[in-house]
């Protein structure tokens, strides 16, 4: 910028210097002043010109080319270059992943129960360090894990996403997968760690739930997380029909409950699912699904009580099959959900487990399992929930949920003589109302009458907040 002024100023000085000799000091000073003014003015004008040039360049890059010659294919060939067509203002950080952070926390008022589990259902083994008290079952004030998500298109063929759950002193990789962008014919491929496509709610993260906690059904099926994650591969195919018809298959490690980590070359978990959905007029839309999950477990630990009421440990080895049927129906006047909308949602599951159960006395308290009793294990259990959520203004929503599980048939073979078989029908009714300032911030007040533990009616009040920072991705139907 100053190069020009540096060149101009000496030239002017040189031209002026001849006459300057004759001039007196006052004249010289005046000339110096003029040159200074000239220099200053040039500098300003050049700066302004440069700024305008830079601006014009950015604008030219930002707006798509508009060749006047509409018909010419050659003009268009240049314009069809994706880099030109989609060249927005693209600084280097345009390639940075979309980052989003979800802050979630709650105040929860409920009964003091030493170890919460759903009566009549084998539970995923607890982390003893936290004494079984995970975020959802913590009383008083607590912060849920903070969810950090990074996502971006990797290249024209793949998209990747990682979601980390961060809690004091620990980071868990909730999801870390890549997904195909380049496949055609309705095919989709996903690999890595991902939330399985089974059921309806399974793929949704806690910030997208309509209630402060996962349905009992999901906790019974998949443990505290309330969802089933796979380390593996997913293939989906969308049929070329006007009606939405999708089929999916997954194979994975199967380390998560109801499976367990096994040292094996085989996949420990297989899943199949099918979804069908459509609109009814502008205002109604629905989706129904049927899913199947088969997992293998080796030495999967869960808690039991022996016939004398003493604590015992059971280790299950065998296979677990789960069927899930789901249905969602959404209504919004003219299909415009902004002001009012209603969602009805229901899921039902049926689980069978088959294999052996070893009953143990790991803590040496002298229960009936002292000699490691192993016997057949057959269970057939079911349950589900129905819920409705009504958004009655752009900011307010209210919802009701009713849940019921059935501990069903449980045959412990030889261990019928050592362990108590817990027959129970857990129930819970939940009502919530939430307020959203925008799609990025929400507070929720929830009341639940929880009868999921035998002999206990727990009235729970939860006040929860969910805040999303950054690039918040689109939500699924």
């Amino acid at each position: 910028m100053t190069r020009l002024t540096r060149a101009v100023a000496p030239m002017l000085l040189a031209t002026l210097s001849a006459s300057a000799q004759a001039a007196n000091d006052a004249d010289l000073a005046a000339i110096r002043d003029q040159i200074e003014t000239l220099k200053h003015s040039y500098e300003q004008r050049i700066a302004a010109l440069e700024a305008r040039l830079a601006q014009a360049e950015t604008q030219a890059a930002a707006s798509a080319p508009l060749p006047a010659d509409t018909g010419s294919a050659s003009t268009y060939a240049a314009a069809s270059n994706p880099a030109m067509l989609h060249a927005g203002p693209a600084p280097a950080n345009g390639f940075n992943p979309e980052i989003s952070l979800t802050l979630q926390g709650r105040y929860k008022n409920m009964k003091d129960v030493a170890e919460r589990r759903i009566s009549g259902f084998a539970s995923a083994s607890h982390d003893h360090a936290t004494n079984g008290v995970e975020g959802f079952s913590r009383r008083g004030f607590s912060v849920d894990h903070t969810e950090l998500s990074l996502a971006a298109n990797i290249d024209p063929y793949w998209r990747g996403q990682a979601i980390f759950a961060v809690l004091d002193g620990e980071t868990e990789v909730e999801e870390a997968w890549f997904q195909s962008l380049g496949l055609d014919h309705g095919l989709g491929l996903k690999a890595g760690r991902y939330l399985s496509g089974i059921g309806y709610l399974n793929e949704k993260h806690p910030h997208a739930w309509d209630f402060a906690d996962a349905p009992l059904m999901y906790q019974a099926l998949f443990g505290e997380h309330g969802s089933y994650a796979q380390d593996g591969l997913q293939v989906k195919w969308l049929a070329p029909t006007p009606v939405f018809l999708e089929f999916g298959a997954e194979i994975g490690r199967g380390a998560n409950f109801p499976g367990s980590d096994r040292n094996s070359n085989d996949g420990g978990s297989h899943a199949l699912f099918a979804h069908v959905g459509d609109d009814l007029g502008d205002s109604h839309s629905w989706r129904a699904g049927l899913s199947y999950l088969r997992t293998r477990a080796r030495e999967r630990e869960s808690h039991f009580e022996d016939l004398n009421g003493m604590e015992a440990q059971g280790a299950f080895t065998g296979k677990s099959t789960t069927w899930i049927a789901d249905f969602v129906w959404k209504w919004a006047p003219d299909g415009n959900p902004k002001y009012r909308n209603f969602t009805f949602q229901s899921e039902y599951f049926l689980r069978r487990e088959q294999g052996d159960l070893s009953c143990r006395d790991e803590e040496g308290i002298g229960n009936l399992c002292a000699g490691d009793m192993t016997g057949d294990y057959h269970t057939r259990q079911s349950g589900g929930y129905v819920q409705g959520v009504y958004q009655f203004t752009p900011n307010w929503r209210a919802g009701l949920r009713y849940e019921r599980l059935d501990s069903g048939n449980q045959d412990l073979g030889a261990n019928n003589a050592t362990l108590t078989i817990d027959h129970y029908r857990p129930r819970r009714a939940t009502a919530m109302v939430d307020y959203s300032w925008s799609e990025f911030s929400r507070v929720r007040l929830q009341y639940a009458q929880d009868k999921s533990m035998r002999g206990l009616t727990d009235n729970q009040i939860t006040l929860q907040y969910i805040m999303s920072l950054g690039a918040h991705g689109a939500h699924k139907f």
Binding site: S63, L183, G188, G277, D279, K330, G335, P337, N395, S438
Partner: protein, 299 residues
């Protein structure tokens, strides 16, 4: 098992004949209408949203995923307007031909000069789009620009019909230019007219007709009008009066009614896009009616 395979095979084969005509899925009704103008019977155009729906906020419905799966061309406004739902449709559809960057994806917003481009955006400003105001369709000159780009794209995707698309575009462009001159002559008295918008979605219309937006009913873009903000507006309009309160067909009318009753303004519902009123059946009638409504209310 055999019958299932048979059904699936049939399902896979059945829609094939339909691919003879180009399947165009538009994110907004105006682009579906434009595609029909230029493609005629050589393509089948449908819109993912209707004029009764807020294009920022619809559900990524299963039916839309199915439509995108079968699309040859996806034409969307872009400029972040559809970020709440379009990414899901693209990720779930298994159709690489309509991914951004491919010939099967056309972003209309990038074909026009944009208003309200923000160098710095922050969510505290509400629902702002850094790439510029995305509601580009209410400036008819933008429709002409997108029509050119769309024609080029149709020719690339379906070269066999190039002459057809070119001829139809030429015809459309001529009729559009004539209509544009008519609208501009009719719209001349609107120049300088002060209006209040519900959401900042009329900017291109106001810019084209030289009208003047003095306020919005939304305190921040995407934030619904509050009582406090409306009270503030009544005071503001005493000092700086406006004649009209404009809103689109999909927007709730209570706030603009209230303001019209409490100030000397008139509430006007504009069709906003094709299908937004009984009369706005195509792009021409959309602008005919928009001008009628504005001139009538400003009288």
């Amino acid at each position: 098992m055999k019958t299932i395979v048979l059904i699936l095979t049939l399902a896979a084969l059945l829609p094939l004949p339909a691919w003879a005509t180009l399947q165009v899925v538009a994110c907004e009704p105006e682009w579906a209408a434009l595609a029909s103008e230029i493609g005629g019977d050589r393509l089948q155009a449908s819109s993912a949203t209707t004029a009764r729906q807020d294009p920022h906020r619809i559900e990524a419905r299963p039916s839309l995923i199915a439509r995108v799966r079968n699309a040859d061309l996806l034409i969307c406004t872009g400029l972040e307007l559809e970020t709440g739902w379009l990414p899901i449709l693209l990720q779930q559809s298994g159709n690489s031909r309509v991914m951004p960057g491919q010939p099967g994806y056309l972003e209309a917003g990038l074909q026009v000069p944009r208003l309200e481009v923000h160098a710095q955006v922050d969510r505290s400003q509400g629902d702002v789009h850094s790439a510029g105001n995305p509601h580009i369709q209410l400036d008819p000159r933008n429709i002409a620009r997108v029509a050119e780009a769309l024609t080029r794209r149709l020719i690339e995707l379906d070269p066999a019909q190039a002459a057809h698309y070119r001829a139809r575009h030429e015809d459309f462009a001529r009729r559009w230019q004539a209509a544009l001159e008519r609208w501009e002559t009719r719209g001349a008295p609107l120049r300088g007219l002060a209006v209040v918008e519900h959401h900042r979605n009329m900017s291109y219309l106001l810019h084209w007709l030289g009208m003047n937006s003095v306020a919005t009913l939304e305190p921040k873009p995407g934030v619904e009008p509050s009582a406090a903000h409306l009270a503030h507006l009544t005071r503001q309009l005493q000092a700086q009066p406006a004649r009209l309160v404009l809103r689109a067909a999909y927007q709730d009318g209570r706030a603009s009614q209230w303001l019209a009753e409490h100030t000397g303004t008139r509430a006007v519902v504009l069709p906003f896009t094709v299908g937004g009123s009984e009369r706005a059946r195509d792009l021409f009638s959309l602008f005919d009616e928009t001008l009628d409504l504005l001139l009538d209310a400003a009288r």
